[in-house]
């Protein structure tokens, strides 16, 4: 019985809430081998090659496999390919696992792999195609039934990483199949741990165990995913026992959920790292003025000392503990710890408001200046709160800071058009060289470098190191170059790292999950627990 020790006579709101949840749970029959999961975002299509968005990928992983997989901590591990190696800088050999069959009983062959690598480019109406992961491959060869050679135009180290995003479909089932055929289940034939049962768009998806699965079979006979996009209903579905597992537990409820005997929490540091992008190309930045509101003669954000001052002014520990209620870790890198290329030598900037003021004065702004900072309000954990808190910190060192937060729909377009002076972005990637290429690489539309470099930072040294890393097919060499590139870019404060997000899953008693760095909720990795 909750809270009997409490001195108050009336049970608290929470006590009643927990009690109600416990009662509701007790009334339900035990579903030994069924699993019900509350997802926080909608799966728009079951075609694994249609649109590259996280909820769709998460679903695909239940029914399909990839040649290379990433484990819960982001390390590459064998999938349908037992092994792979670079035969030459431009040729890779992938050996397929023996004895793998699709859920309809047909065996997996190299033909299916080649077909699957070709298919993304044939889907014309996708707003977010998977072709980014296949375009490096200029030629595919099925050497025998279980060997595939992939040729790239130039040396390209991250090829195995790219392949974790390309799901292998059955050529027999998917040839001539459209997106509709996947949604109806007709073409949805894979080698993964589950097979398709039902899809109610915007509402739920059901899958059942694939008895022909080549790996360790999941515990669950049947899994039902329910789309519960709003926080409160998702949480209450868990408390009321309507689902067994939910993802993205709202930050505000963590502390109290920890005391609920019916619920356990699983947490994992994720790849999503938040950082601030600063205008480093304009001499007059649109959202920077003097305190009198008049334009300044130069852009203070271009001055390294000002960027250092800003970084020192941010109390990351307070931000993480207070604003994010413990759902993050202070960041020094642009990628999370454990990610390929993470540079552990870079320390987290210590909170030092006095040092910050001194640096501002040295840079010629003893009285600070005025600044408007931008961020999202529906994308990251407590994002609008994070923006406000950082504004508080900046105000304290004399930078008079205003806040503007928007939904992503309006935000990203403006940010990518370089309209902001100081803007928040969260990035998740499994490799530092990839991140650096997109975020701090010198902008070049023709190569796709710097496509999310909002502040137009540019440093030839960084570009050279990143290019070197991407061309290195030897992993150790590639990682060394990526680390060095990160340390140069972060030494310049090309972006100001803020924090790494944690992901939280809520599970009813009797279920266990270790969590994943990529934030995905995989039914095949959820276990029953005593």
């Amino acid at each position: 019985m909750p809270q009997h020790a409490s001195p108050s006579r009336r049970p608290s709101l929470l006590a009643r809430l927990l009690f109600g949840a416990a009662m509701a749970g007790a009334l339900l029959p035990a579903w030994a081998a069924d699993l019900r999961i509350g997802l926080s975002s909608d799966v728009t299509s079951l075609d694994p090659h249609f649109v590259n968005i996280a909820p769709n990928i998460a679903f695909s992983d239940h029914v399909f496999d990839t040649l290379v997989k990433s484990d819960a901590s982001g390390k590459l591990v064998p999938g349908l390919a037992e092994s792979w190696r670079a035969l030459s800088p431009t040729t890779w050999e992938f050996k397929l696992r023996q004895g793998v069959v699709f859920s309809d009983g047909t065996p997996l062959t190299a033909e299916d792999v080649v077909f699957s690598l070709d298919r993304p480019a044939t889907i014309k109406n996708s707003p977010g195609p998977f072709t980014s992961y296949t375009k490096q491959i200029v030629r595919k060869e099925a050497i025998d039934a279980h060997t595939v050679h992939l040729h790239t135009a130039s040396a390209y180290g991250p090829l195995p990483l790219d392949l974790i995003s390309i799901y292998v479909v059955s050529k027999k089932a998917a040839e001539n199949a459209g997106t509709e055929d996947f949604n109806s289940g007709k073409a949805l034939i894979g080698t993964g741990p589950f097979k398709f049962a039902a899809f109610r768009k915007g509402e739920s998806i059901e899958i059942t165990r694939n008895e022909r699965y080549w790996g360790a079979k999941p515990e669950w006979d049947k899994v039902v995913f329910r789309i519960l996009a709003s926080d409160a209903p998702r949480l209450s579905a868990l408390l009321a026992g309507d689902v067994d597992v939910i993802e993205n537990v709202p930050a505000a409820d963590l502390a109290r959920l920890k005391t609920n005997p019916q619920v356990t929490l699983a947490q994992h540091t994720t790849w999503r790292t938040l950082f601030w992008q600063l205008d480093q190309f304009r001499d007059q930045s649109p959202f920077v003025t003097g305190k009198d509101g008049k334009p300044l003669d130069k852009n203070p954000l271009k001055d390294l000392r000002v960027r250092q001052a800003i970084s020192k002014a941010i109390n990351r520990q307070a931000l993480v503990e207070r604003t994010l209620e413990g759902l993050a870790e202070p960041a020094s890198n642009i990628n999370a710890p454990g990610i390929f290329g993470y540079n552990a030598q870079i320390p987290v900037e210590a909170y030092d408001p006095e040092g910050a003021k001194k640096l501002l004065a040295e840079a010629g702004y003893p009285d600070g200046f005025s600044l408007t900072i931008h961020g999202t309000n529906n994308r990251y954990i407590n994002d609008d709160q994070v923006v406000q808190t950082v504004a508080q910190f900046l105000n304290r060192i004399g930078i008079r800071t205003r806040v503007d937060t928007q939904p992503v729909a309006t935000y990203f377009g403006k940010a990518r058009a370089h309209e902001y002076s100081f803007a928040l972005l969260g990035w998740g990637s499994l490799a530092t060289d990839f991140t650096l290429r997109s975020i701090v690489g010198t902008i070049d539309p023709d190569t796709g470098w710097g496509s999310w470099n909002w502040g137009k930072y540019s440093n030839p040294k960084v570009d050279e190191l990143v290019a070197g890393a991407l061309a290195a097919v030897e992993p150790a060499e590639r990682e060394r170059l990526a680390r060095e590139a990160a340390s140069v870019a972060l030494g310049d404060l090309a972006v100001i790292p803020s924090h790494h997000q944690l992901a939280t899953w809520g599970l009813r008693k009797g279920f266990a999950y270790d969590g994943r760095i990529d934030e995905f909720t995989f039914a095949h990795e959820i276990r029953s627990a005593r």
Binding site: N315, D384, A391, Q392, V403, D404, Q406
Partner: protein, 302 residues
Amino acid sequence: MTAAAAAFTPAAGGWRALARAYADSPLALAGLALLMVIVAAALAAPWIAPQDPYDLSQLDIMDSRLPPGSASADGSLHYLLGTDGQGRDMLSAILYGLRISVAVGFSATLLALALGMSLGLVAGYAGGRLDAFVMRAVDIQMSFPAILTAMILLALFGQGTDKIVIALVASQWAYYARTTRGAALVEGRREYIEAARLLGLSTPRILFRHLLPNCLPPLIVVAALQVAAAIALEATLSFLGLGLPVTEPSLGLLIANGFQYLYSGRYWMSVFPGVALLLAIVALNLVADRLREILNPRLQSQ
């Protein structure tokens, strides 16, 4: 008819008669008193609030989410109603938020009422093409979601109180137009309007001196409701991230922001602003109800 005209022309003694009639209801008087207190508190917020909740340099994240009655970390402030997720004093935030909510609610409603009423009257009275045109515009507007309007304004012009007012007016004028037009259709065919027309009175005079007062009672009911609805819609837009700047929260935004903490027992962040909003709206409706009774020509004729 004559009584209505008298009530609407505050000529000699009109106001005094109105006040006397109003004072007949003690409940309405209490409502008026409450409304005046609220408006006074809202107007005086900068002088009576312990903190300027919109000035980020006065907030301290270390004071965030403190329960009512806590003292600030540096001991300088006493948070009577607790603090929010940024360490903002709830009492100050409520006083300032009241200002914004009341201002947004009233200005949006008055603008929408003026616009919708005029269009509705003209449409209902004139009929024909004009009527058809206005009514189809109403159809478009009524099915155009406020969320989309707000998002377009946000994308084009950025955040701000004025944009929210425009979005609210844009989504509410049609309501008044429709209601006024319905009433005008009926009233416009009554004998006294025919008579006024036969007497050769000018159209504006017929519209605003004769037709309007008789269409007004349902409009006042709707308008009083719509001030509340405007405030609630503003809160909803803020809840969806399309409303006011987060650093300048209205009551609605405070409720929306605080709601996420309700499950975890940190009630003060949404319950106190909720109570403030409720009091404001109840007071407003008590006053509006009484005014409606006094001003209604049909209730007057007794």
